[in-house]
Subunit: 352 residues, 2 copies
Amino acid sequence: MSESKKRYTIKDIAEQSGVSLSTVSLVLNDNPRISQATRARVLKTIERLGYQPNRMARALAWRHTRTLAVLVPQLRHAFADVYFGEIVSGIYDRASRLGYKILLEVARNEFIESKEYLQLYDQKFIDGIMFIGANSRHRFIAELADGTRPFMLVNNYTKEFDLNYVVSNYRYGGWQAAKHLVRLGHQRIGFISGGVAEIQTSQDILESFKEVLDESGIAYDPKLIVDGWLTEEGGMKAAEELLRQNPDVTAIFALNDKMALGAMKKMNELGLRVPQDVAVVGFDDIPQASFAIPGLTTIHQPLYEIGKLACERMVELIHGKVSRVQEVIPIYLTVRESCGARLKEAAAAKTE
Amino acid sequence: MSESKKRYTIKDIAEQSGVSLSTVSLVLNDNPRISQATRARVLKTIERLGYQPNRMARALAWRHTRTLAVLVPQLRHAFADVYFGEIVSGIYDRASRLGYKILLEVARNEFIESKEYLQLYDQKFIDGIMFIGANSRHRFIAELADGTRPFMLVNNYTKEFDLNYVVSNYRYGGWQAAKHLVRLGHQRIGFISGGVAEIQTSQDILESFKEVLDESGIAYDPKLIVDGWLTEEGGMKAAEELLRQNPDVTAIFALNDKMALGAMKKMNELGLRVPQDVAVVGFDDIPQASFAIPGLTTIHQPLYEIGKLACERMVELIHGKVSRVQEVIPIYLTVRESCGARLKEAAAAKTE
DNA sequence: CCGCTTTATCAAAGCGATTTAACTATGGGA
DNA sequence: TCCCATAGTTAAATCGCTTTGATAAAGCGG
């Protein structure tokens, strides 16, 4: 065990440099009132002793911490989810570039009941919270709507409260996905929904689906909407029910990739071929989407980028450079094999 | 915008309760020297005013922060990986139970070069670091081996330095997987490796594989070992090469599930059936393993539990309750369909 | 009623920084 | 030569809480 080297304080630096304590502090904070000469001298002893300012002391004096909390809902194991993972990666990268640290938090009951979401601010532990995956059951966010405490919804929004957010254009995404199926000639399209009751963005996708039906003159049939609980297993069950009750279905639009993948698995079991018998389109473009057999046609969400952007805005919010952020990011369809569009193209090419 | 309520300090509480500042602090810290009566009185005004002690001020006085850093290597998008996700979930849950906060860090070049891993301690920003996914190229961990700063490897270890760790028994896991294939009668077993040069636990699996061959009297054939880079795509390529060069291979042991799944995908493409033509066994038991078709037989790693345990030990380390932690967790085979063991059982049952 | 414990409370000195008002040279203009 | 503005540095107050040694009050046996 090495001798535990003494930790230096600003006082040591002051003494060793032959200046006052405050001078050192001013150097540390790049204050222009310090001459280049003393500045250099102080910097040198800082370097020599390997001095590191105590972050807690600074935070205390500054009254902010340069730390952001990233809040995720309590799913089975929240952090294990690629969706969150991508966004968090984006947030992290931008945050560290800006000199911010990331604190992890999960919106468990305990977190909500003990009002941790306020405590974190009030204990001066963080400068802001970024909430990924909020839904309408998270009533507590109402308490963060007054703008007193920097708060933001990431890839999500709500019509109920006036909150800050950065979100994909789910409506446009949903519209593209549905339109893609309709263009390929599908008329009986099953829709695997999930979280529609509590997630605004889920609602948006469903609505855009209906919109496409409407503008295409296809009758909306509630029997074709089945809930898949946003999970793979749910997607399997939903597909089974959908196909059993409506054998005439030729395409399925799942509100997220997990369910789409589940549906594909079920069809495989049932001996149905994708896309020949049933076309499938998903939403999110998670890594497995491209890896599936056949590759899943889906709406690509630039989650990493969204995380970065949201973080950038959050810091601006904290610094008071902006007072509101409500940004909508465009997203686009990624065509793979699960809808047969490529097959058609190939066929078309052949007949030419 | 609501009126920004004044933040109370310990001084306000003292005045409002008619006691001294120190008394309030003693109450806050459950010091038995305070009588029940005053204690109750102080607690009441704390409650009434909704007072929250400033965490930075406490950290400054305490000289520790009750914050743990979780460090992950720089993969493409580190947090998007289920492997890390599960472990982080475990760490988070245990940490918050123990009153600790989790800070996220990525071992990027910048992080290493600027010696952030030391700064975090020296700036008194965290009490300890838990490193998930270290490998032998992370030379900097040598600087954390002196025990001066609480540090721990999670589900990983190294023979080079004397570090703290909590790790699965990879050798035993690998042994079981290989043994399973041999018991099912396989003699020509392909091994898809990955990270063997830099990851100790990868080496362990490979070695245990060789050990099984050895004790089973099967000749070790280097041609049957192919690198799959630990990724799905790599697994596909490895499987292709393996099967092309060695058509007599009847089973594949992949060092992780991602590669096993990739191999299965490739075999599907090649028209080979799993398990009838080639049996496959993986390692890790990621969610997709059970979801694959056929279900992947694999070694189950209780990642969430490992995270919890590691966190628990880390806190003990910080409190000086232990001075070294080097724990090895047993792990077991989970039999699904990819090796055909169930088929055999069923067949055996029929002939009875 | 007197010393002696025991118990409860408080004053004061930190923890390690920031920040502002005040002070000291220095140099230029009148 | 005197005055004043300017630049550079510092003293002192602050941030909000912990902790220890001192003090006061209360309890107790004789």
